[in-house]
């Protein structure tokens, strides 16, 4: 390795500068959150005296955090397992069984990868009003499962299409039904891609904003991101409280990221490359 000294230091300086650029915004809102509620603090990085830790308690109550957490967890639990099950089944049929029409089906799903959510949100809203699920958590969960299908089916198919066919053939000779083949042989082998898909869809669901904004009026029935949007609408003028609320809502995501950073980064990258 022959890297010149100057280059080494220039490179390190660049990396440190960009890390500061990434981290400073978090530090700034944290310090702002400790200023007295109702004031407009100067947004520098001076530590407030005395720090108002009570703001976090106030924001916790104002944002109705327990309800919001429960609501987000409910939505994630409604969306993610269902997404994993039905996309694994479809990916199995398209990638491994190669049913007649598999190509057309795959194309149909891949087409959905390019659709922005805003493109189809209007009919979803009208449809949900018509079938009477508007303004419930189900109103967010059902369309989300459907909107994940293009990516999820594509992702699972990419796994199944690379499975050696000998496995299935041997099982067939032993008289396994299609269901046996799926449940006893291939699902256990698909744990890694299913887990990655689970991580991805959980993060996306937790952070989903547009569907929550359009389909649910009651902020306590929304996802975390949707609840935060409502909180911002109410407390836009109380900057310290808004910052405290934002931090509270970020904490679960940050903990999960710190615990599973390697898996999350890998899943998001693979997701992008395959998608």
């Amino acid at each position: 390795m022959r890297v010149a000294r100057g280059e080494l230091w220039a490179g390190r300086a660049l990396l440190l500068a960009l890390m500061a650029f990434t981290i400073l915004p978090f530090i700034s809102i944290f310090i702002t959150a400790l200023h007295p509620s109702g004031t407009v603090p100067a947004g520098g990085l001076e530590w407030p005296k005395p720090p108002q830790w009570i703001n976090f308690v106030t924001a916790f109550k104002m944002a109705e955090m327990p309800k919001l957490l429960a609501s987000s967890i409910f939505i994630v639990l409604a969306v993610v397992p269902a997404t994993l099950v039905i996309s694994t089944m479809a990916g199995f049929a398209i990638g491994l069984l190669r049913i007649p029409g598999a190509r057309v089906l795959l194309f149909l799903f891949v087409f959905g990868l390019t659709l922005p959510f805003q493109g189809i949100i209007i009919p979803i809203y009208l449809l949900e009003r018509a079938i009477g699920i508007y303004n419930t958590r189900v109103a967010i969960a059902l369309p989300l499962i459907a909107l994940y299908m293009p990516f999820a089916v594509f992702w699972m198919r990419a796994h199944f299409v690379n499975m050696p066919s000998e496995l299935s053939e041997a099982a067939r000779v032993d008289g396994a039904t299609t269901w046996d083949l799926f449940w006893k042989i291939h699902v256990p082998l698909a744990r890694a891609p299913v887990a990655s898909l689970g991580i991805l869809t959980s993060i996306w669901t937790w952070n989903q904003f547009l569907l929550a904004l359009v389909l649910v009026e009651d902020p306590t029935q929304r996802t975390m991101a949707g609840g935060l949007g409502a909180f911002q609408g109410q407390y836009a003028n109380d900057v310290p409280l808004l910052c405290a609320g934002t931090i509270l809502i970020l904490v679960p995501t940050l903990i999960v990221f710190i615990l599973f950073q390697r898996q999350i980064i890998m899943a998001l990258l693979q997701g992008a490359v395959k998608g």
């Binding site: 947004g43 390019t114 189809i120 459907a146």
Partner: protein
């Protein structure tokens, strides 16, 4: 290899007359796709077709629908506030896409060349962080940073640039670049990590021989890294361009399209038209144009990167 073999097996099984057993298996196979297909059809394909249908009517969502042909599309193209959203979306591509990908390439190659150890891992993790937080939260954070008393202006004052401080998001000229900065913050780490992963797959022998010849960082970068990373660059461009054209969350919480319409993008305008002005037809026409636009921009990127993969 395996796919060849399976393709062959597939052909053989097709050539034998479709026995009752095969037909049964195919039927069962189709049953496996039904739940996914049903959900997708009901909540994505049908709404997609309905959006196209609505775009030809004047409708407030409840009353009678009036057929207006392509008038809604003409309105989108003629009304400055609406066609302006499309221009803004392309402006945003520069910030959300070109800068993160360009800067990401540089940062990734720096990490790859000088920071392969601990420092590099930490740098990658830190830079990646904004990618996992909700875009709404990113918007709120930057909304405060870019405010008049916010950190950006404080830093500018501290380095003697006090004269250029302003409420960045309330300024007709600067609001869009400011929103763009949020995009850079969110997407830079994602691009960096993805490109760096691609770089680690490049044969190190190429770099070693280049270094034996005394190649500088820049020569290495242009001669080896960029050409061999075409596929990864394509992936980054695809993801970030979609993020730019379909932007909503960040803009909604920072500026809601303002001041005036200076940061209004199709996603914002669709929401306002449909859910506050009840102009379902016009909003649908803009939605259709947005979807067409995404496809038109994505196809050449995909096509170029696929070419190079061969």
């Amino acid at each position: 290899m395996t796919s060849d073999r399976r393709a062959a097996a597939f052909k053989i099984s097709r050539r034998t007359s479709p026995s009752k057993k095969v037909r049964r298996e195919n039927f069962v196979g189709w049953l496996f796709t039904l739940p996914a297909l049903f959900m997708y059809a009901f909540f994505v394909l049908v709404p997609f077709l309905l959006t196209i249908l609505y775009s030809f009517f004047r409708w407030n969502g409840v009353g009678p629908m009036t057929w207006v042909g392509i008038k809604n599309y003409l309105s989108v193209l003629q009304v400055p506030n609406l066609v302006g959203t499309i221009f803004n979306a392309f402006w945003l591509v520069v910030w959300f896409s070109f800068i993160p990908v360009g800067l990401g390439l540089i940062v990734a190659s720096v990490i790859h060349r000088i920071a392969r150890g601990r420092f590099g891992t930490v740098a990658r993790t830190v830079l990646f962080l904004p990618q996992v937080i909700a875009l709404v939260a990113a918007g709120i954070i930057w909304g405060w940073l870019l405010a008049l008393p916010g950190l950006i202006n404080q830093i500018l004052k501290a380095v003697g640039l006090g004269v250029i401080t302003r409420a960045w998001l309330g300024d007709f000229h600067w609001a869009l670049p400011s929103v763009g900065m949020v995009g850079v913050w969110v997407l830079l780490g994602f691009c960096t990590v993805l490109l760096e992963t691609g770089m680690s797959k490049i044969d190190p022998a190429l770099y070693e021989s280049a270094r034996l010849d005394g190649a500088s960082w820049f020569q290495e970068f242009l001669g080896i890294t960029v050409p061999l990373l075409r596929h990864e660059i394509g992936v980054c461009l695809t993801v970030t361009v979609i993020a730019a054209l379909a932007a909503f969350d960040i803009i909604w919480v920072t500026t809601a399209g303002g001041p005036g319409n200076s940061t209004s993008v199709p996603g914002i305008q669709i929401y306002i038209l449909a859910f506050t002005q009840r102009a379902i037809g016009l909003a649908s026409a803009l939605a259709v144009m947005l979807m067409v636009l995404v496809v038109i921009v994505i196809i050449p990127i995909q096509w170029l990167t696929r070419e190079s993969a061969q």
